[in-house]
C-alpha cells in the first residue's frame, strides 16, 4: 500500500471511528434527547461508512455499485443534515418566544432565497460528467451545499444580531456543519472547473476537513455546556450612570 493510499484510508476511517465515539458520548450524556436529528445523522454516517467500506473491500471494489450506494447515501445524509439545521434553529431560538415568528420566517426565507441562487447556479452550470447519476449527484451536491451554507450563516448571524445566548453544544454542531458546507461548496466549484469527480487532492482536502469537523463536534459535545460567562467576582450590574439618565427619562414620562 502506497503512503498516499494509506493517508486516504486513514482520512476515510478515522472520522467514522470518532463518530462512533460521538454516539457513545451523546448517549452517556443524554444529548441524544436534546439533539435527536444530529444523533440520527451521526448514526447514518457510521452505517453508510460500514456499508461503503464493505463494498470497497469486496470484489465490487469502487465500481458502479459503490457509486450508486454512495449517491443514495449522500442524498439521505443531506436530507438528515437539513433536519439537523432545523433542529439547531429550534435550539438557538427556543429560549426566546418573542422571536418565534422570526425563526420561522428566517428559516423559510433563507431556504427560498438560497434555493433561487442554487437553482440559478445549477441551470447555468449543469455539470459535464458523462454518467447521469454522477451528473445529478454533482448538481445536487452543489445546490445543497449552497443552501446549507446560507442557512447556517444566517442562523449564526441572526443569533449574533439578537445577542442570543449560545449553548456550546448547539454552537459546535452549527460551526462544524457550516465549515463542512462551505468547504463542500468550494470543492464543488473545483469539480465544476475540472469537469470530473475524483481528483485525489480535492478528495483528500474534503476528507481532512470532515475530520476537523468531527473533531469540533467531539470537542464541543464532550465540553461542559456552558452559558455565557459573566465576571465571577461580581454579578452583572446595570450601569449606574445610564440608570440615572433612564431614571430622569422615566420621571419625565410619568409627569407627562
Amino acid at each position: 500500500m502506497t503512503p498516499l493510499r494509506l493517508l486516504w484510508y486513514c482520512l476515510w476511517v478515522t472520522p467514522h471511528a470518532l463518530q462512533g465515539m460521538i454516539l457513545l458520548v451523546m448517549v452517556r450524556r443524554r444529548l441524544d434527547r436534546q439533539f435527536p436529528m444530529f444523533f440520527l445523522y451521526t448514526v447514518f454516517e457510521v452505517l453508510q461508512f460500514v456499508v461503503l467500506f464493505t463494498i470497497s473491500q469486496s470484489h465490487l471494489q469502487f465500481g458502479e455499485a459503490y457509486a450508486r450506494v454512495y449517491s443514495v447515501g449522500l442524498a439521505l445524509s443531506t436530507a438528515v443534515r437539513f433536519s439537523v439545521i432545523h433542529e439547531l434553529f429550534g435550539h438557538f431560538f427556543r429560549r426566546y418566544p418573542t422571536l418565534d415568528g422570526v425563526r420561522q420566517l428566517l428559516f423559510r426565507g433563507t431556504i427560498v432565497v438560497m434555493l433561487l441562487v442554487a437553482v440559478g447556479l445549477a441551470v447555468s452550470a449543469p455539470g459535464n460528467g458523462a454518467d447521469f447519476l454522477v451528473r445529478i449527484t454533482y448538481v445536487l451536491d452543489r445546490t445543497v451545499s449552497a443552501l446549507q451554507c446560507g442557512l447556517l450563516i444566517s442562523l449564526l448571524w441572526f443569533s449574533r444580531y439578537f445577542v442570543l445566548s449560545w449553548r456550546s453544544h448547539a454552537f459546535g454542531i452549527a460551526l462544524g456543519l457550516g465549515i463542512l458546507a462551505s468547504v463542500e461548496l468550494a470543492t464543488s466549484a473545483i469539480w465544476l472547473h475540472l469537469g470530473a469527480f475524483g481528483n485525489i487532492a480535492v478528495n483528500l482536502f474534503t476528507m481532512a476537513t470532515y475530520n476537523c469537523c468531527v473533531l469540533i463536534w467531539i470537542f464541543c459535545l464532550t465540553a461542559e455546556d456552558r452559558r455565557p460567562q459573566y465576571p465571577t467576582n461580581r454579578s452583572p450590574k446595570l450601569p449606574t450612570y445610564d440608570l440615572e439618565i433612564w431614571n430622569q427619562e422615566l420621571e419625565r414620562l410619568l409627569h407627562q
Partner: protein
C-alpha cells in the same frame, strides 16, 4: 469557469463569515465586563421629534420642496444614528437581563424576562427601521416612520429601571418613581 469562480468566492466568504461570527461570540462576552463603556445615551424626546409624522408634515407644508428634502434627509440620517444607539443599548441590556432571568427571586426573574423580550423586540424593529429610514433618505417625501422604536425604547427604559430597583433596592432608584 465564471460560475466555478463565483462558487469558490462564495465558499471563501462563507468560511470568513463563520470565523468572524465565532470571534464575535467571544467579543460579545467582553462587553459585560464594562457595560458603561459601551452604553450610549439616547435623547428620547429628540428622537421622538425626528420620527414624528406631524413634525414631518409641518416641515413639508412650511418649507420649499428642495429645502424640505434636504432637511428631511438630515433628520432621517440623525434618526438612523438614534436607532443604532437604541439597538446597541438593547443588545447590552439583553445580555445583562439574560443573567437576571436566572435569579432565584421571582420578581427579578420576571422583570428580566420582560426586559429581554422588549430588548429583542426593539432589535427587531431596528432591523426593519434602518433600511426603511435609508429608503426615506432616497425618497424624502415617502413618509417613513419609526415611532414603534421610540415606544419600544421607552418601554425598555421603564423595565430597566424596574429591574434596577429589584436588583439593587438600596440605590434609591425607586425613589425616583
Amino acid at each position: 469557469m465564471i460560475v466555478a469562480l463565483i462558487l469558490a468566492l462564495s465558499a471563501l466568504l462563507a468560511l470568513f463569515f463563520l470565523v468572524r461570527l465565532t470571534r464575535g461570540r467571544t467579543l460579545n462576552l467582553n462587553v459585560l465586563e464594562n457595560p458603561t463603556e459601551h452604553i450610549r445615551s439616547v435623547d428620547v424626546e429628540a428622537f421622538r421629534n425626528l420620527v414624528d409624522p406631524g413634525e414631518e408634515e409641518f416641515l413639508r407644508t412650511n418649507l420649499p420642496p428642495a429645502e424640505f428634502r434636504m432637511i428631511q434627509r438630515e433628520r432621517l440620517r440623525a434618526a438612523v444614528e438614534y436607532v443604532s444607539c437604541a439597538a446597541q443599548n438593547a443588545a447590552i441590556l439583553l445580555r445583562l437581563a439574560d443573567a437576571g432571568r436566572r435569579s432565584s427571586d421571582l420578581a427579578t426573574a420576571e422583570a428580566a424576562e420582560k426586559l429581554v423580550n422588549n430588548a429583542l423586540r426593539l432589535r427587531l424593529y431596528a432591523l426593519h427601521a434602518i433600511p426603511r429610514l435609508y429608503l426615506g433618505m432616497i425618497f424624502p417625501g415617502a413618509g417613513i416612520s419609526a415611532v414603534r422604536i421610540v415606544e419600544s425604547y421607552e418601554q425598555m427604559t421603564r423595565q430597566v429601571v424596574l429591574l434596577g430597583c429589584l436588583q439593587y433596592p438600596t440605590r434609591g432608584v425607586s425613589a425616583a418613581l
